[in-house]
Amino acid sequence: MTMTRRAFTASLGALAGSAALLPGRPALASREDELNILCWEGYNTDDVLSPFRKMHPGATVRAESGTSDPDMINKLRAGEVNVWDLINLNQPWARGQLLPEGLIKPLSKDRFLPYFEKMAPEFSGPYPQAFADNGDLIGMPQRYGPFSFVVNTDKISREMAEDQGWKLFLDPAMAGRYGVLTYDNWNLIHMCLTGDLNPFQPLDEAGFETFDGVAKQIFGGAKLLTDDLVAMNTALINGEIDAYFTGGTYTASPARLDGLTNVRGITPKSGPIDGKGGVVWIELTSLVNNPDPSPLAEDFLEFVQKPEICKAVGFAEGTYNPVAQMGDPEVAALWDAEERDAIQWDSLPEEMERSVEYDVVADYDKLMQIYTAAKRG
């Protein structure tokens, strides 16, 4: 095809003209009827959002799920603090990174403190990670779960796994029989615990050497690595592996709800941090420090405290998790027997008792370096 100069100029002009005609974004839009939520999967489901949309007809409510805490924090750092109104992450980040970097702001205590009273005993205190050093409320807890490792109880009994704890993965007989779920930030914590180290305290040289040894042995003996919990559960169910390193209610629950109750999250009976070897994650939802804030943000946070919405959040598609609000019998009654079994409700209190809180890893950078080098092999 030949193109004349005139035709070319004309089409270029048309292009420029159409670009000029497109509506530009108003510089100072009012955000009274707009809400953007950055969250772990669950808050973005229809079961949660539709009732809220009905309460606020005309409002645009958008929720996007992230794939990792750091990924979502990156978005705020990269300037999307102007976009989001709420961010839902695991507990250490709000205190450790978001608040110091000015990415989130305190919630109204008058409005939200009363909700802590009805929560499960672990949270009704109220829950310390939800507060800044100066006492400001910086996030509301909801979903949580013990997160250590998962076994196929047909191959490795629950008792044996709990007794052996993390050492199970150092047993030469386990080589080639387990997978590593590459939730890398979690693996740093769990590999420290395997080496009898406390990841939340600075380590000395000997500690780093121990960690290096553990990381090399665990990656060396792993049959597969993946960051996909479905792939990992599939490998566990079809017998390719008997256990996986890093996992818990969050990863085991989908398989358990499908009737495969031999897939079970395990919390070790003992470990190096005050005798505890398990770890528990607790999500906090915080108010993003948006320069043009939406008034709907706190409304939504209050809305998700309602019993039926608690259930929708805890039982959203993908993974199933207990919620702090289940401390209220009215909320807990919404879960039937099978659903309770999926989230290992029977052993939840004792598992919580044996777990320490997921926290900021003191030597994260150095450990991450050793870890990625060991993963590379």
């Binding site: 100069r5 070319f8 100029t9 270029l12 420029a16 990792s68 750091p70 990924d71 924090i73 990156n74 750092r77 990269a78 997978g179 590459t182 890398d184 930030n185 049959k223 597969l224 690595l225 993946t226 960051d227 996909d228 792939a231 599939t234 490998a235 079809n238 017998g239 390719e240 950078d365 991450m368 370096q369 990625t372 080098a373 993963k375 590379r376 092999g377």
Partner: protein, 284 residues
């Protein structure tokens, strides 16, 4: 007059050139900028110290680069060997069946790569299509075919087949039948015809196909994650880890720049050698 035409051409091309520079080069320049920053910073307002490149050498990231490039090379060679007869058939033998084949291959591109790879996971895993049937028929199973380097290379070959097949067919179509017949008449063997007539004349197609496959395979991540169970850690995976769990943007940017420099250098070298104008038939 001719000079003025050229100047006008440049002038007319200016808006689009500017657009391309902004949309294509700017992100790469941003990555390049970040790669020079000191570790763990999240903006460009710092003194460049290039320490991230030091990390690349000290921390053994070259291993991941080597795995990525090595597997890309093997996949490209396998693709060439597989696609040559197929492309030959498409260009010279199949006639109308070529269209059916083309549509068949293009159709696979309509389905997301991850879904196609998941299909292979279900086929190759223990208790999957292959192992499951073997156990059913013969009573003995084996350990599944996933989670190793060959399965990653298999994934690369499977996903990037169209990118080798079509340029190769185009290249082979450029080999004049007269030249081959003349070589026969002069007593050349089949091997000689392949080596001295067909391969050199189809070279642009071979080069373009190989470059596409190599460049795409070198940056591939899904095959290693889904089929390979991360049996080896590829460089794209390292970049992802550095940006996310590592929270070290400069390191991630430096890793990306190394990959961009290697594959970009190769691509420019290759394209410089291939006569693209001739391939698309603008020059006789």
């Amino acid at each position: 007059m001719q000079r003025r035409d050229r100047q006008l051409g440049l002038l007319y091309a200016a808006p689009l050139t500017l657009f391309l520079v902004l949309s294509f080069l700017a992100p790469i320049l941003l990555v390049a900028g970040f790669s020079t920053m000191p570790a763990k910073v999240f903006d460009l307002a710092h003194m460049p110290d290039f320490s991230a490149y030091g990390e690349f050498l000290r921390q053994g990231y070259w291993k991941s680069v080597a795995w990525s490039l090595g597997m890309a090379l093997v996949a490209t060679l396998i693709l060439f060997v597989i696609c040559w007869p197929l492309a030959y058939g498409m260009a010279k033998v199949f006639k109308r069946f070529t269209l059916v084949l083309t549509i068949g291959v293009v159709m696979t591109l309509f389905v997301s790569e991850n879904i196609r790879l998941f299909g292979w996971v279900l086929t190759l895993m223990k208790g999957g299509l292959i192992e499951g049937y073997m156990r059913h028929w013969f009573g003995t199973g084996f350990d599944g075919l996933l989670y190793n380097v060959p399965s990653i290379v298999f994934g690369l070959v499977y996903v990037y087949l169209p990118f080798m097949l079509f340029p190769l067919a185009q290249g082979i179509a450029m080999v004049p039948d007269d030249a081959r017949q003349a070589a026969y008449d002069l007593g050349a063997t089949r091997w000689q015809i392949l080596r001295e007539i067909e391969l050199p004349l189809a070279a642009p197609g071979i080069l373009v196909g190989s470059l596409l496959c190599f460049v795409l395979s070198a940056g591939a991540i899904a095959e290693s994650k889904l089929l390979g169970g991360q049996a080896v850690i590829v460089i794209a995976d390292e970049v992802e880890t550095a940006f996310t769990y590592g929270q070290n943007w400069p390191l991630g940017a430096a890793l990306a720049m190394v990959l961009i420099a290697i594959v970009g250098g190769l691509a420019i070298w290759g394209i410089g050698r291939a006569d693209l104008d001739r391939m698309i038939g603008r020059k006789g």
